[in-house]
């Protein structure tokens, strides 16, 4: 996977994760173009499209679009399920997640993503294991907080 973008129906970027080195300018350009392209599509359309030399896989959950760019030989359907698994992880962690959770706890959204995907590849697909890692980190923070109190 080359990058993943989360953006709202209004086109506001909520999360961006780049797995290939690009300049800030290029990232902004890509984001602008893709958000526009995806938002222009109608609900019943297919979840895949060709874009430059990449394949775009996207899906809308409530007010939020999840959009991944993958390479030619990558599998579209499994990418669609990567998106879904990430949504499930967020949902489990925040408890019926909504866009606001991601806005106010954006750092957590990044941490969860890092546990699930690394370098653009699935690192751990078990929901339990990912959440365990995050929980452990949260726990660690509380223990430390107690210890220093």
């Amino acid at each position: 996977m080359q990058f993943m973008l989360l953006f709202s129906r209004q086109g506001k970027l909520r999360l961006q994760k780049w797995y290939v080195p690009l300049s800030d300018k290029e990232k902004k350009k890509i984001t602008r173009e893709l958000v526009q392209t995806v938002l222009a599509r109608k609900p019943k359309m297919c979840s895949f499209l060709e874009w430059r030399d990449l394949k775009i896989v996207y899906k809308r959950y409530a007010s939020l679009y999840f959009c991944c760019a993958i390479e030619d030989q990558d599998n579209e359907l499994i990418t669609l399920e990567i998106i879904h698994r990430y949504v499930e992880l967020l949902d489990k962690y925040f408890g019926s997640v909504c866009e606001l959770d991601i806005i106010f706890n954006f750092e957590k959204a990044y941490f969860i993503l890092d546990e699930f995907l690394l370098g653009g590849e699935a690192q751990e697909t078990s929901k339990k294991n990912v959440l365990k890692a995050i929980e452990q980190a949260d726990l660690l923070q509380e223990v430390r907080a107690l210890a220093t109190a």
């Binding site: 999360l15 359309m45 599998n75 499994i78 806005i103 706890n105 750092e107 699935a122 339990k128 660690l140």
Partner: protein
């Protein structure tokens, strides 16, 4: 599970985010942000030392501001400080900031790397993972330099926690992608491959991505992964949906891992081991069988995961392209998907079938779905799906269905989305040309194309139709008639006028017998379009008019009248004015004979790769058009535009007539007609010379270390070479391959040394062989020259090539011990006996490659002679008729500087010098 707004929840951050969200305008937002930035800046600069929590909070705010799309130029130092905090969340925010806002500030990179180093050696798995995530997210070269050596160790160490292994594997993958030269698996290779057997599914899932990437680059080193992958896959495929616990996703066992395993196998050819292959085929059959079973869940996630595996399996089947049974089953499965209610599946089925269409085993099976695909092209509501359908029709097209497919594509073009019209036009043009059996169909198709989508018809397309009409005399009359009719439409596209002008100018005489299309009617029809056209088209029409004067003397006065009118002869456009003046003069001065010579019919165009195909490839990017297709295009295209009878006519001299369009890739003929008759031939003689054929001459230096290969290749001719040498004698076989479908005549080669004559005639597509016997009389430095002349389609071709005969071909290797070598080395100590060169490496400094090249040179490569094992020494004797020249060689690579020092000593100074020159180009 901790409640939301977790842990220590930074209240200040939440307030700030709310403020931003409440901003009514962009200006208000920017104002609020600037206020916050000023605040943070003063806090960071303030005298009071900030506690960890505040630092974390401010860094997090900066990060938020950056993610909103604003620039951040401070705070990096504070973030780096957080890295060494012993509080997990502070460290975590520090790493996140660094990952998102990496700065190549060298001072900082050093500090960051230090912090990472500490965390990696902390043996605290949570900290180690954080550090690895950071490396994977940044993936810079500096980080690769610092950690590429350390991470493989962590990855394979027995006591590393599973979660750390997972991060390490993908971290390494990212570093390998950015700096492959720094990630050396070497001794770790086998242990990394064996991670495929790891008990922990998560470890396998992560490691396999790394292994796949490494296998693509070094398939041989990693090939043991094939059997491991097959057995892992087989275990997953045959497991019950509950066996894999949390790795089962909506009743599908380990879908991500399955896809990755199937993907890894696509890096390799089918397994050679029968048992492994059998097991794999079984897996693939099981996957295909499962697709027919009723779903275990109605959820789309279930069917997506299941079908993801199925599509990956089909990709593997297509990749192997060797199991007809599986290919046909795959095709049938995709056929079902073509009518599935899920748009996604229809899209993917169309896409996947495109590749199936190119396999000889499944091409026919794909073709049976033609009606469904045509229907998709007509009825799909999503343009990206229609695009796939068009691609598939293009891929499944062959002689049997070309007419139907081209007709459907043409009718689709009338309503097609603007975004894909140009590509569709190119596809129709290519198919029409490739599968044309009768040329009237071809001409009809292209003219229809111009009628329907004229704006999208690029120059290549209408150039091509003209080339083909010129080269095929059986279609010229039809083309003239059809284009004449097309021009009668009240509104016709300018591209139609161009084609019409050119074709009537050349072949209007073929329909002039019919009073409905008499010369004057033709002229008036063309001229009625003149004033609506752009300058280039008008220029073309003026050329057509002068050709009319030659074809139909009765139109002369009418046309002269037109040329003489102020709007022509005083046209403000220089080009038009010049043409009008010159054509007018030409028509009034030149005798009929001169006129007939100057304005003679165009000679056939030389055959070359269809420029339309080249354009489509360019549009679609490299790799979009398969090699398969290209070759076919060339083969079948040959029949079409080779112009068999005409092109083969060796007696016809290059016709010195004007190329009205400049189709020969030379500059368009602008100063078309000078007024003095005697000058004409000179001006136009250029048209017969074939200087536009791009060619690829292989530099002779490539053959210093090898004896066989392709010496020369262009659009027409390929010359292969095979040679052998013994003592001072050599024999060289030259293979002249005619790549066209037209014969080459009066084919001669001359060598400045003696050669057996070659067959004077090479049939289209055929190859002839020439043998050259070589004897080395004395040492030499200039290679013999080979001159090749032949006629192709009337045009004389002339080539001069250097034969790759070099002095080193006459080497006899000499084995000797270290002692002997140094003794001889000392004996050859006269300054002129030694030649030395120090030069930069042009290729990777790979020991094996170097060895192979030195062996190819013909000398003996002596092991254990040089005290420095990095160096190479060689010894050999050059055999010439006059004498034997002993030679010694030493090559000292310096990997750090990417330089070589080459020293050659031999008993003859010219030989040392020549060998040194030859070799310096090789490394």
């Amino acid at each position: 599970m901790p409640a939301v707004s977790k842990g220590d929840g930074m209240r200040g951050l939440a307030v700030f985010i709310s403020d931003i969200r409440n901003c009514k305008s962009k200006e208000a937002e920017i104002k609020r942000i600037n206020k916050e930035l000023a605040n943070i800046r003063s806090k960071f600069k303030g005298d009071k030392a900030l506690d960890g929590y505040s630092k974390k909070k401010y860094v997090c705010k900066l990060l938020f501001i950056f993610l909103l799309g604003h620039d951040i130029d401070f705070g990096h130092m504070e973030a780096v400080n957080l890295l060494s905090s012993n509080k997990y969340t502070e460290k975590q925010i520090g790493y996140l900031f660094i990952s998102v806002l990496v700065n190549s500030n060298s001072e900082l990179i050093r500090l960051i790397n230090n912090a990472i180093k500490n965390d990696l050696s902390s043996r605290n798995p949570t900290f180690m993972c954080l550090a690895l995530h950071c490396i994977a997210n940044v993936g810079s070269r500096e980080m690769a330099e610092a950690f590429a050596g350390e991470i493989p160790r962590i990855l394979v160490a027995g006591d590393t926690m599973d979660s750390v292994k997972q991060s390490a594997a993908l971290c390494l993958l990212r570093l390998y992608k950015t700096s492959p030269d720094l990630v050396l698996m070497g001794e770790w290779t086998s242990r990394v491959v064996h991670l495929l057997n790891d008990q922990h599914m998560g470890v396998v899932t992560a490691a396999i991505s790394l292994i796949t990437c490494l296998s693509q680059k070094n398939p041989d080193e990693f090939k043991t992964c094939v059997s491991l992958a097959v057995s892992r896959l087989s275990r997953i495929v045959s497991s019950a949906s509950t066996d894999l616990q949390d790795y089962t996703y909506y009743f599908v066992p380990a879908p991500w891992l399955s896809c990755k395993l199937l993907r890894l196998l696509q890096c390799y050819p089918p397994p050679e081991d029968g048992a492994v292959k059998g097991r794999l085929v079984e897996c693939l059959e099981t996957i295909l069988n499962k697709a027919q079973e009723p779903p275990k869940s109605k959820k789309v996630q279930h069917s997506n995961a299941k079908n993801a595996i199925l599509f990956e399996a089909i990709s593997l089947i297509i990749h192997y392209d060797s199991e007809p049974n599986l290919l046909v089953r795959a095709c049938n499965q995709l056929g079902q998907f073509l009518q599935h209610r899920e748009t996604n599946l229809r899209y993917l089925a169309l896409e996947s079938m495109c590749t199936l269409a190119s396999s000889e085993f499944s091409h026919e099976a794909v073709k049976t779905h033609i009606e469904t695909v045509i229907n998709a092209l007509k009825t799909e509501r999503d343009v990206s799906v229609r695009q796939r359908a068009a691609d598939l029709l293009y891929a499944m097209c062959d002689r049997s269905n070309a007419k139907q497919i081209v007709a459907e594509m043409l009718s689709y073009l009338e309503t097609a989305d603007y975004s894909i019209r140009e590509e569709m036009v190119l596809k129709v043009a290519i198919l029409a040309e490739k599968y044309a059996v009768d040329y009237s169909w071809y001409v009809d198709t292209i003219l229809n194309l111009i009628r329907i989508a004229g704006d999208y018809v690029s120059e290549e397309v209408w150039y091509r139709v003209i080339q083909i009409v010129i080269n095929r005399d059986d279609v010229q009359g039809y083309a003239a008639k059809t284009v004449f009719e097309a021009l009668q439409a009240p509104a016709c596209h300018e591209n139609m006028v161009k084609v019409g002008g050119y074709i009537l100018g050349e072949f209007g005489n073929l329909i002039a017998g019919d009073p409905r299309s008499s010369p004057l009617v033709q002229f008036n029809l063309l001229h009625s379009k003149f004033h609506l056209c752009s300058v280039p088209t008008r220029a073309l029409l003026l050329s057509a008019y002068i050709k009319f004067i030659n074809l139909f003397p009765e139109t002369k006065s009418t046309i002269q009248e037109v040329l003489r009118s102020d709007s022509q002869i005083r046209n403000s456009d220089v080009e038009l004015q010049q043409r009008a003046v010159e054509y007018l003069k030409l028509s009034s001065i030149a005798s009929t004979d001169v006129l007939a010579t100057v304005l003679e019919e165009m000679p056939p165009f030389p055959e070359r790769e269809s420029s339309i195909l080249a354009k489509l490839k360019k549009k679609k990017g490299p790799g979009a058009v398969s090699v398969n297709e290209l070759e076919e295009g060339k083969r079948e295209g040959g029949e079409l535009n080779g112009g068999g009878e005409r092109g083969g006519d060796s007696s016809s001299t290059p016709s010195p007539s004007a190329d009205l369009l400049g189709l020969r890739a030379g500059p368009p003929v602008t100063a078309a007609a000078p007024s003095a008759g005697s000058l004409l031939v000179d001006v136009f003689s250029e048209a017969g010379v074939n200087d536009d054929v791009p060619f690829l001459a292989v530099p002779a230096c490539l053959f210093v270390c090898k004896n066989n290969g392709v010496l020369f290749e262009n659009q027409l001719l390929q010359i292969g070479i095979k040679s052998e040498y013994r003592q001072n004698l050599g024999r060289m076989y030259l293979f002249y391959g005619n790549k066209t479908s037209v014969q080459f005549v009066t084919f001669t080669t001359t060598l400045n040394v003696q050669a057996k004559p070659v067959e004077p005639l090479i049939e289209g597509g055929a190859q002839v062989q020439q043998v050259i016997n070589i004897e080395c009389l004395t040492d030499f430095s200039d290679a013999p020259l080979l001159n090749i002349k032949f006629r192709y389609g009337g045009a004389l071709q002339n080539l001069t090539l250097k034969l790759p005969v070099t002095i080193n071909k006459f080497f006899q290797p000499t084995e000797m011990a270290s002692h002997d070598f140094f003794q001889r080395w000392k004996q050859l100590s006269l300054p002129q006996q030694e030649a030395q060169k120090i030069f930069k490496a042009n290729h990777a400094m790979d020991t094996e490659v170097l060895k192979a090249k030195l062996l190819g040179l013909g000398m003996a490569l002596l092991e254990n002679v040089d005290p420095n094992p990095e160096n190479f020494v060689c010894a050999g004797v050059i055999q010439t008729k006059a004498q034997q020249v002993g030679s010694l060689l030493r090559l000292e690579p310096n990997a750090q500087a990417q330089m070589y020092r080459l020293t050659v000593r031999s008993s003859k100074d010219t030989v040392s010098k020549r060998l040194c020159e030859l070799l310096a180009e090789q490394f």
